[in-house]
């Protein structure tokens, strides 16, 4: 699956990542009575006033815009939880904390559309920004180290969709370049005097794949 905004590159734009994030579920408290919605992507509702129900973010925002519900911000979007995550992000230089895969997009969507439902909204917003900055800095440092290993590989866990999407074009090109320059064909065998162009390198020379 590739993004639609640029036909030449198999990349997603930030808006497309946000679009995918809108399928995540969120809790709402409706203030109206409505029959269940039977949609292709699932059945939501029925909706009763003051009865908490689960809907996707896009539906929650649509209802919120019409003043039909209040959105309950998810657990991780509270100030305490975000402060805790930020502290542990700063403490551990190597590992990433577990956050929802779409935390950047969901927090932005909720902050934009449901600002009166989020307590301490400015605090929440700046905490999310700080967490994102700390994490992105860690991504950069871990990418720096990936050329140390002989295999040109790096292992980063718990990245979120937006973070991966930002580094994807760069990392893709860098890996291609490392693969090209690291290929053993470039260092000819000393036994054979390379007077003639050799169509293919010795299969023995090729780097063996790592066993799983």
């Amino acid at each position: 699956m590739a993004g639609q905004s640029d036909p030449h590159l198999s990349l997603f734009s930030a808006e497309e990542v946000e679009f995918m994030a809108e399928d995540e579920m969120v809790e709402i408290v409706p203030n109206m009575r409505m029959d269940p919605l039977n949609l292709l992507c699932g059945d939501y509702g029925p909706f009763f006033p003051q009865m908490v129900t689960q809907v996707p973010v896009w539906l929650a925002i649509a209802l919120k815009k019409r003043g039909k519900c209040t959105i309950r911000p998810p657990e991780w979007m509270s100030v305490e939880s975000l402060t805790r995550i930020l502290e542990s992000e700063r403490e551990s230089q190597d590992s990433f904390q577990v956050l929802p895969f779409h935390y950047v997009e969901i927090s932005r969507l909720l902050i934009d559309h449901a600002r009166d439902d989020i307590p301490d909204i400015y605090m929440v917003r700046s905490l999310v920004e700080d967490i994102r900055d700390v994490r992105f800095h860690k991504i950069e440092t871990s990418l720096e180290s990936f050329e140390d290993a002989r295999s040109s590989a790096v292992r980063i866990k718990n990245l979120s969709a937006m973070e991966v999407n930002i580094v994807r074009p760069f990392v893709g090109r860098a890996l291609q370049a490392f693969y090209k320059h690291g290929s053993p064909d470039l260092v000819p065998n000393p036994d054979k005097v390379p007077n003639r162009w050799q169509p293919a390198a010795d299969p023995v020379q090729k780097r063996p794949l790592r066993k799983r």
Partner: protein, 185 residues
Amino acid sequence: MANYYDLDDIIAEEEIVSVVFQKEVNGVGIDPSSETDCVKPGSKVELPFWLANELHLRQVGTMKVPACFNQKTRLELGADATCVDLRSRSPYFYEFGCKIAPLVGDRDLGSFLLSAFKNRYQEVLAKGHSAAFSAASKCSTLLTREETTMYEAAQSSMKAFKKWRMGGPRFQRASILGRKRKPAD
């Protein structure tokens, strides 16, 4: 092999290599210093890589290591890889190096290219995602074509993300902007 229609690949093969002819060649005007249309064995001619490669395949001439991979460049890259202006030496430093490495019989060239790329990669990584856009033009003049594409990929994705985060139409309109201005009297 690279894509046949890849423009960068075609331009990379335009780089000049000096070729020493092993055989006598008649009826070609590729040696500007000779008076007749004939190239003597042992004469040295500067030719683009695509032609030199074909001559090499037919064992008519042998290539020399081009000037951009000489000892001086290697020492400079060894000292501080990030400051070396590789673009002025050859905008297609790596591609050209990869093409020529198996042909010139220089066994260190491949590993030299890899280490040069490794050292400069960190600089591209550090600048690409974080540098202010005004400072971008200064360091990108030192980069080769391959590094520039990486750098620009990083910059454009970061720029797209920042644009999304700022969000154009979703900005709240300040209430004061909606009011009509009082007519000055």
